[in-house]
């Protein structure tokens, strides 16, 4: 097949890859190229760097492309499915390596996020992805970040090799329910995807164990594994999604579960809903994810914040929704309460809570003091007791939600 210029193919293969939400380049082992005597290139700092932001608000940290967007699978939500009319292109592994290095040298990126449509077979495709990582690591001593997507049904040995070169590996569960996957991704299978995740989990655990005992043991995917779920392409409720995410975190020790609001794609399959779900829904799911990861909420507690239809409210955040449902837990005394109780106060982040705890060792806090540590005291006030403040009737007011919910115009601006 005739191949276009690098520029044309980059456009096709970047466009094809952009529906994957993950762009993190953080949480991996610290490395640099100076210690190698100036032979290699690249470093990782633990904290990732976003080198640019696109007008969709998403960070550009990695060169996120597909090796090819030819695909023998026919997943309805995917722009690259076999039956789609999208323009096709492919890169050779060497072309991806050259592109990655020339971007990296100019400080455009932290590294590479490489995925691929499935050509010939799963194993053939996976071999090509591994080859890109091998050239970067072995021939160029590249010490930047590499995220490889593992291909469904690829051989465990190939996935293992990928993990030895990459900082992070991931495979997408795609849809929150098995029925959704069967309907929209007929060639994929939940059982096999989860089996692959379990293998990676075991490899990571084994490598952690070996590095403890032998300092030079090879590191396997030091930034862990992640996955992605599409929101709004099937009928799954937020409660379904939160439940699934929680099972994935527990079952496979995932670093992150990404949510991607289904967005209309060119040449869409006729089975899909045409309209996107509100972007706010994706935002609320991420907030619920944070509640579970940093605020000690269990999945069951997050589900308590959903309405009768299993959906999180769009107009207020899930933490506030939970607090409004469990008012008997408030007000919380900021001068006495434990950290867990403080973390439940709407409007207080982890940082503010820790600062309040440090400050109250110095003196008993007034409402004004708390106000200096938070963005909006108006939102916090109904839920706390301070030296000179007690909300009395406020916590029990029936119209409390309307007092605290953001104004409608603001919501629209944010959701757009």
């Amino acid at each position: 097949m005739k191949q276009g210029s690098i520029l044309e193919r980059l456009a096709v293969l970047a466009d094809a890859a952009k529906y994957d939400a993950s762009c993190a380049s953080s949480g991996t082992a610290k490395r640099n190229s100076k210690d190698t005597g100036g032979k290699g290139i690249g470093s990782t700092e633990g904290m990732g760097i976003c080198h640019a932001y696109a007008p969709d608000g998403r960070c550009i940290s990695l060169l996120k492309i597909l090796l090819t967007n030819h695909c023998i699978f026919d997943c309805h939500y995917c722009i690259n499915r076999a039956s789609s009319n999208v323009a096709r292109a492919r890169f050779t592994p060497q072309e991806v390596v050259d592109l990655t290095l020339s971007f990296y040298r100019r400080n455009y990126i932290e590294g590479l996020f490489l995925s691929s449509g499935i050509v010939k077979s799963s194993n053939h495709t996976m071999e090509q992805l591994v080859e890109v990582a091998r050239i970067l690591r072995e021939e160029h001593d590249f010490r930047g970040y590499i995220h490889l997507k593992t291909i469904p049904d690829a051989d465990a040995e190939l996935v293992h090799q990928a993990g030895l070169y990459a900082d992070r590996v991931s495979i997408n569960v795609e849809l929150p329910t098995d029925a959704g996957l069967a309907r929209l991704a007929p060639d994929k299978n939940t059982g096999r995807i989860e089996a692959a995740m379990a293998e990676v989990k075991d490899d990571i655990a084994q490598s952690r164990d070996e590095t403890k005992r032998f300092r030079n043991a090879p590191r396997f995917a030091p930034a862990g594994q992640s996955t992605q779920m599409i929101v709004g392409a099937d009928a799954a409720s937020d409660a379904d999604i939160v439940g699934k995410a929680s099972r994935l975190y527990d079952g496979f020790r995932l670093r992150r579960v990404y949510y991607s609001a289904f967005s209309p794609i060119p040449d869409a399959s006729a089975v899909l809903p045409l309209k996107r779900p509100p972007l706010m829904r994706e935002h609320r799911l991420y907030q619920s994810d944070w509640l579970m990861r940093f605020y000690d909420y269990s999945a069951a507690e997050v589900m308590q914040a959903t309405g009768d239809d299993g959906m999180l409210p769009l107009d207020i955040d899930p933490k506030l929704a939970w607090a409004l449902k469990f008012r008997e837990r408030f007000p919380v005394d900021v001068n006495r309460a434990g950290r867990e109780a403080m973390l439940r106060i709407p409007g207080l982040g982890v940082r503010a809570v820790d600062q309040i705890i440090a400050a109250r060792r110095q003196r008993t806090l007034r409402l004004e003091d708390v106000g200096k540590l938070t963005v909006s005291i108006a939102k916090v006030r109904p839920f706390i007791v301070a030296l000179d403040w007690r909300p009395t009737a406020l916590t029990d007011r029936a119209d409390l939600k309307s007092l605290l919910a953001p104004k409608q115009e603001q919501l629209e601006l944010f959701a757009a």
Binding site: A14, A261, L373
Partner: protein, 477 residues
Amino acid sequence: MTAPLPDGDAAFYSVQLPAPDDFGFWRDTARALMQCSVPPDRIAWVEPGGSGDLFADGGQPLPVPAADAPQVRASKPFIQAAETAICHSDPARFALLYRLLWRHQANSRVLEDRTDSDVRRLDELARTVRRDKHKMRAFVRFRALAEADGEERFVAWFEPEHHILRSNAAFFVNRFANMRWSILTPRGSLHWDGEVLAEGPPAQRGDAPGEDPTEDLWRRYYASTFNPARLKIGAMLKEMPRKYWKNMPETALIPELVAGAQAREVAMVEAGALEFDERPTTLSAIDKAIHACRKCPIGALENQAVMGEGPHHAALMIVGEQPGDQEDQQGRPFVGPAGQVLDVHLQRAGIDRGTTYVTNAVKHFKFVDRGKRRLHQTPTAKEIDICRWWIEGERQIVQPRLILAMGASAARGMLGKTVSVSKARGTAHPMEDGSELWITAHPSYLLRLDGTAREEQERLFQADLVAVADRLAVLTR
């Protein structure tokens, strides 16, 4: 503070810093002044290029602490915050740090009280500097320049808001160890040759290369990775404020990307828009509706819709791909050459076409005009998927016990996914409504074969029909 003030000493000191980010000098000077118990309001800190204090020139020589002067205490978090905050461009930062150090001697936990205005200011300065350093690591853009020996040097022009160049140098050395690079700023410059880091004087924009061909690739990547269906300009501006834009090649694209985004999304949704009215509930109503259907380009060709035919509650439904030339002219399914092949094999298998509902996955004939002949064209997967709306309507009304899909297009019309006929044939595929789907080749496929290949395929086709007949007998018993 333990050391007593020297009698009647109301001296005022002016400290000239050698460089705006020289933390070591500030620390040593502050320690000495603290040991001499010089209170914060008696010191003016002057940085190079900064506005001199009234007393700057004639200031007293700095006092020298006694050998037995008490130790000055400073906690680790304070040192760390101070070292960072000193890179800020606020001229009042040195005095703030000294004031906090002074208060720190009386209360070593002063830093823990974030409601204190000095503590919050220190926190703010340190945070601003950390953010500025981080943004420099993110937004520096190198351009390649060929040097005299043929090697490349990567040169960047950057305009930091604070004095962060020197403290950020290690990051770039660690990352780009095997490259030659220079970072030029209005406050000074850094040069790395692969082994040694050198500092240079302030530079100007014109000292850096004006372009780099790789930026075309980068801009194309930036535009392509942007998803126009989700515009969030506020989120972008929060993390990439406009002040950084002028030295980033990709940002010139932002206005057109934003302007085009809404238009592009509307176009995408419209191109895919399929707004069917409510589905008709009788076969005659479907017949009428498909004649008006223009949901895909096939409907717009010069052809007529061909409705399925047969008893309304037939136990067996046979589905083909689409009407052919003959079928289109006569308006009836399977009356052309393929239909004749089908009839022969049905008869041999003992299936009565008269009790069977025969129809197609796609309702209109897709062809290209080749002068006298209209040449059959295979419908695309999307066209088949669109037409599922009608075939599903027929299935709901007829409610067959068994469906025989002939060919890959018919199978897709039933399943919504593409399957391989050779793998899927010969067994029952249970459907959601309780019926069974069987899959076989399309009879027109037999017409395209010769010799032994044709004999072999006819045998397989016949065997499929016999299996269907047997199964149908069981299901309708």
